[in-house]
Symmetry: C2
Subunit: 633 residues, 2 copies
């Protein structure tokens, strides 16, 4: 059927095939409604912020087959940016049977769960194993000890002496048939054979600002749950430097910091265990990724000497410690181990990123950027040169220290566009009234403030340019949500100070990337692949990040998201010894570069504080897109 | 000079050589004074209780050369028992130059310190060692971690992860020159090379009633101090059975018991460390001997199943556990290890006794008796048959549960004789007024009550036989110290109930020895050597113990004291790996015998409750000596 007679009461309908990743759907689309309305009516949620006004560009689809209505004026601007076959579904209508592609369905999740790309073929080879044994009961003629009896059949000699507490009772309860739980070759638990049991493990990303816990079933590899929270160490300092400064002022202070992070981890473990209904004593292994300072503080080392030249880390290898020695509330006979680090400023989180992204297996020139309180950059050249560095971005990208900033949890604005009048359209995690704005939302908001001319290229808010620019005793601010629309009945704003913090963060990241690329003898445009890792991972809008000048002006398809690579790599190490061994090898292979020793790094940083950059020619394509979107500039 | 003219103003003097062990002294002795008076005047302290009345027999010396005054009537009685050349120095006078031998000088010690016979040639091979290393400081070109730097020069890979807390600080404080302390191959500490340090170890006898700690310098082998206290577990039950009963009633109860003994050990460690002025963090190794139940409770196992047939112990091997896991206040990175056990009822204390006595190297037929809350017996025959058993003696032999009983500390009556009127002569530890009576004193007092006819052969106090026999609402009692002579202004007595408890204890020991000897196919009189170990060790008066019927009626010279063999063996294991390995081998070699399964054991026990025994012919020599001493019977 191609074309249909119209009358007042009848609208023509067409069959539209919708490809979403590997899935295929078919819907019946009414010619008189926008494609967006048809999709939503048919139960296919599509991202959109501006309510169909063609402002946000989030509802874009690829037209593969069929006829569509001609582009509207507003749509044309986006097509210049997004490509010729990309249509805004809020503007386009179908005029025939058609095939379209939607990048992904909008999440209707309650909270924001970062996904990551552990390859499906990851071999399940955890350090924890179990063995079912039948122990010979004692007789008057054979009065051997319970322990000796057990070790006799199990054929090992290593055991955690704390199993002696319950060994006698458990052997009798189970009629001498038990499952031995082993960590490597050490018996760490025995469980009556007639009792159900699970063997779980946890991967932890010990971020400077945010701590994330993933819980796994080590017998099946299944991910059972996720939980995240701000690192309680924040109350002692927002960044690594201020925490080391605090730690240095006394032994008790180091203990404060150590307890704060352990406490954070324990609360997360408890909360995820309770939610999915498992006993946290079933967790026998925990792999912690984090920067070198975070891992050192976890073990009670103040890292002070690492903070002064020549910046020696306290340790870089994978340290293994009994859970009870750290006070971590998993099985006390289990272990906590750290992901190995590269140097004081390139830590286990980056090794985990590499493991997760498989950067070391990439054959061309590639980079990895980990966006967090510290930004870390790794460059791998075709010749197998492996360089890494770190820069201080601060906690603002994770929403911390920004006046209305918050973590990416229910109530956070995670995505924003601003129309030509300065009015914001946004999406809130959990579909509630907004309480604040998280990292991905902040980046988009500032990018759009720049697109709409609300801030200038120096990041300065332009007074009087919009009714949403206001002033209070702390200076100018931009209102994203008016008081009557927020969950707190207070305005949600970005202040001049917030914007300055983000400028410093993004400049640090861009300058680190461009400088390290130069040290590797490359130019940015020869990078064939850029892996983006970090706390807000997949939710980062590349275009906004380029408008901001945080990411370089290279084609969007060269960027790959690995999500929270730190937790992904830690998870892979948890699930397979292979990756644990690989991590040790990688940690030794990567060379750490001190940016402060590199000529021109400082001026590179200063230039990068501009939005997108002081040297406009570096962001030609991006600036061109802005022009096309607005007709300005 | 032989003989000298006398006048009113001049007494003749002679030179007397006095041999004491390997030492030789020469004194000038006045003919008109007793040898005892001469010895004491010359600064040679001689044991004596009765003030020179010839009652106690403690001041005996061997006459080797020279003429002496003829024996007095009272002295003749003792000479029949002690041998023809033995004189009571309180009765004898010298009539010429002479040579005498004194077995040992009286101790003027403040407390009672048990000595033991670690052979001087014990090789010092502790598990803890140290290595001084110079670590390469980091540079901008060499940013290896502090840990990796350290392991690089030390050439090992094992370390306690808790050293990571201070590693960075300590390396800088010492300008990168440190002493590594190792436990086997594990680095457990690092100490700046410019700082004094000591490496100490502790041997502990975890007795059911009494806990003893010996502190050693592991670099020199020097014994630095000793401390003992009642086991705080006593408040949960006086013997092993009642504690296991208590433990069984709930998990918290096991923890009560575990904490009680750990607390006892910690107080002792703290007190001995403070007294000799060392930091208890210098203690890296602790070897604990004790019966199987005590060692199991130390590790939190309730031992319940070991208390019912077929009596399987929770463990018998030497268990090693981090000090921090037990809560023992030595260096938290150090270890506590147990002496291996033989069976549920023949524990690590007995293995320690064997190590200390070298019983396993004795070529003839020999026995070992450990006197404590449990009495343990080991028989070794010439054919290398090695049998061991245990019997419940109760805490009375350690002064616990006896009305005026106390430990062998300052203020305790440790030795008693009673004269024909029933009056007691005694020695008090620390030379103060007496507060109570300890095990060795109790045994001597009851033996003398039997000799003087104050109790009959059934142990019953004879009313009206002496002014020192009194009665109160709990029945008959015998007054050793009247109220006005005691430190507490209360009488020190032995009650009928006290005597009954001692009868049960001594009967258990004698019956176990005679039964086990029979099981080994031997008779008591073919034993060539009997090693006596236990809490009151060297202070036991063999003659009194024979009068009581606790020890068999065989010549005194066949008995050897090894003192507290439990702590001696633990000390030897602490000081040398050789002995630790030997202990493991011995634990496997000894066969444990269940007395309750042996025919006639029960009737043997009942007969042995008599004093000395229901079958008088078994104690012919002893009864004969009593007769000679008293002219009675």
């Amino acid at each position: 059927m191609d074309g249909c007679p119209k009358n007042m009461f009848h609208h023509c309908s067409y069959r539209v095939k919708v490809l979403v990743g590997e899935e295929k759907y078919e819907i019946v689309a009414d010619e008189s409604l926008s494609l967006l309305q048809n999709l939503i009516k048919s139960g296919i949620p599509v991202d959109n912020l501006c309510g169909g006004r063609g402002v946000c560009g989030k509802c874009a689809v690829r037209a593969i087959e069929g006829s569509f209505s001609p582009p509207t004026e507003v749509e044309k601007r986006w097509m210049n940016i997004l490509g010729p076959n990309i249509r805004l579904s809020c503007q386009a209508r179908v005029l025939s049977d058609a095939v379209i592609e939607l990048k992904k369905m909008a999440k209707v999740a309650e909270g924001k769960i970062l996904t990551w790309g552990v390859k499906k073929e990851t071999p399940l080879r955890p350090l924890v194993s179990f063995q079912r044994v039948k122990v010979k009961p004692p007789t008057l003629e054979d009065q051997k000890g319970d322990l000796e009896r057990l070790l006799n059949v199990s054929g090992g000699e290593h055991y955690d002496p704390l199993i002696l507490k319950d060994i006698s009772y458990l052997l009798r309860e189970s009629n001498f048939e038990v499952s031995l739980v082993r960590y490597y070759d050490e018996v760490v638990d025995l469980i009556p054979a007639n009792r159900d049991f699970r063997i779980l493990g946890a991967a932890v990303d010990v971020g400077t600002t945010t701590v994330v816990v993933y819980l796994y079933d080590l017998l099946t590899g299944e991910n059972l749950g996720v939980e995240s929270a701000y690192n309680e160490q924040l109350r002692f300092g927002e960044d690594v430097i201020s925490r080391v400064e605090y730690a240095r002022r006394g032994r008790d202070n180091v203990e404060d910091l150590r307890k704060a992070v352990i406490n954070t981890i324990n609360k997360l473990i408890e909360s995820v265990s309770q939610r999915i209904g498992v006993d946290n004593a079933c967790i026998y292994d925990m792999v912690c990724a984090g920067n070198t300072t975070m891992l050192a503080l976890l073990l009670g080392n103040d890292c002070y000497y690492g903070s002064i030249a020549p910046y020696p880390p306290p340790f870089t290898s994978s340290v293994r410690v009994k859970a009870r020695d750290l006070g971590v509330k998993i099985n006390p006979r289990g272990y906590v181990r750290t992901v190995p680090s590269i140097s004081m400023y390139v830590g286990g989180d980056i090794v985990a990123d590499i493991i997760a992204s498989r950067l070391h297996e990439y054959e061309g020139n590639a980079a990895l950027i980990d966006l967090g309180t510290n930004g870390e950059i790794v460059i791998k050249t075709g010749e197998d040169l492996f360089l890494a560095t770190s820069c201080a971005a601060g906690p603002a990208l994770e929403g911390y220290g920004v006046r209305d900033g918050m973590r990416a949890v229910k109530g956070a604005i995670e995505s924003v566009v601003i129309d030509e009048t300065g009015r914001s359209y946004y999406r809130v995690i959990g579909n509630t009234k907004p309480e604040g704005i998280c990292g991905s939302g902040i980046i988009e908001a500032i990018a759009w403030m720049r697109i709409r001319g609300i801030i200038d290229e120096a990041g300065k808010i332009r007074k009087g340019v919009s009714e949403f620019v206001k002033e209070d005793n702390e200076g100018l601010k931009f209102v994203i949500v008016p008081a009557n629309a927020s969950a707190t009945s207070r305005e949600i704003v970005l202040t001049q100070k917030d914007i300055r913090m983000i400028q410093l963060a993004k400049a640090a990241i861009y300058a680190a990337l461009s400088t390290l690329t130069r040290v590797a003898g490359l130019e940015l445009h020869v990078l064939e692949r850029i892996f983006i890792a970090g706390a807000f991972g997949n939710y980062l809008d590349i275009f906004s990040a380029q408008v901001l000048g945080m990411l370089p002006d290279i084609p969007q398809e060269k960027f790959s998201f690995i999500g929270n690579g730190s937790i992904a790599g830690a998870s892979m190490m948890l699930l397979s010894k292979n990756f644990a061994e690989e991590a040790q090898a990688i940690a030794k292979r990567v060379k750490s570069v001190e940016l402060n020793l590199i000529k021109d790094f400082q001026s590179e940083f200063v230039k990068a504080t501009y939005i997108p950059h002081m040297e406009k020619e570096r962001f030609k394509n991006v600036l061109n897109k802005i022009k096309q979107l607005t007709g300005l500039m």
